[in-house]
Amino acid sequence: MKSQSDLFSSEIKIDETAKAYIHSLASWAMVIVVVAVVGYVLNILELVIGSNEPAIIQSEGFTASFLAGEKNVAGTVITILIGLVINYFLYRFASTVVSSINGLDQEKFCSSFRNLRIYFAITTIIMLLFLLILLIAVSALI
């Protein structure tokens, strides 16, 4: 068993267990991409089909009014575009890692993790921006 690691002392082998995990995680990554894209399609449909006129709802007991039905087209489009970019890298990772394992392509396998790295990087930066905006909004409210 030790002889395996002796052959590639500075490299880690992708054994059958790791392969199974990678296959499974790639499948779930694909599920995430598909569900996200379906969500974007629904979002666009909602934007196209939904009512155009903003309705003023006055909740019982509160004098504060809420605007409902007003479409934030720019916000939705930006959200969808960002989502598509993020999910593109997840899709690239999922498709490349599976094909590289099936075809025993060493180079493709290693470069597939580049897509995972980009996916995590973009998600982190967007999350950081979101958290900052949320903090500013809460501090402004207080």
Partner: protein, 159 residues
């Protein structure tokens, strides 16, 4: 044993390029998971202070007749606090799996440890599976609300 040696010769290994990509991915994943933990804490704080925030909001902006009933406002605040804590709890687990993925991946790359590598992939799988399931559930609810909304619009236009 012989078969294992053959598969190691013709199998896939994580070379230096792969290691650098995985190390970077693990670094970003760790950052993302730590931010997720902070976000969870933020949601819990928001939930805990929701009751007092709502009472401050209604006293500033309105003449809420229910504000005379302390039980009603306390009940609403408590319900919202529970809801926020549940949301934070749901969000906590994928962050935990992601954190474990990054720490185990770093250990695997540092010591060329097969067990750590497998464990890190297992945790990444768990994180993606968790997020996938939550996304499916959310999409189902959203699609249902969308269909109900469409039916409501159709019924309203017929009347």
């Amino acid at each position: 044993m012989e078969q294992n040696q053959d598969s190691s010769l013709f199998g896939i290994n994580v070379d230096q390029t792969g290691k650098s990509h995985l190390a970077e991915a693990a670094k970003w994943a760790k950052f993302l998971s730590i931010m997720g933990f902070i976000f969870c804490g933020f949601i819990i704080l928001l939930g805990l202070f929701f009751g007092s925030f709502m009472s401050m909001f209604s006293s500033q902006y309105g003449n809420n007749p229910y504000s005379e009933l302390p039980a009603a406002s306390t009940g609403f605040g408590a319900a919202m606090a529970v809801l926020y804590i549940v949301i934070a709890l749901i969000y906590f687990f994928p962050c935990l799996f992601l954190f474990r993925f990054s720490t185990k991946m770093k250990a695997a790359l540092a010591s060329n440890d097969q067990e750590f590598l497998n464990a890190s992939f297992q945790n990444l799988k768990a994180s993606l599976r968790y997020v996938g399931i939550i996304m499916i559930v959310m999409l189902a609810f959203w699609a249902l609300a969308f269909i109900v909304g469409l039916l409501g619009v159709a019924t309203g236009s017929n009347m």
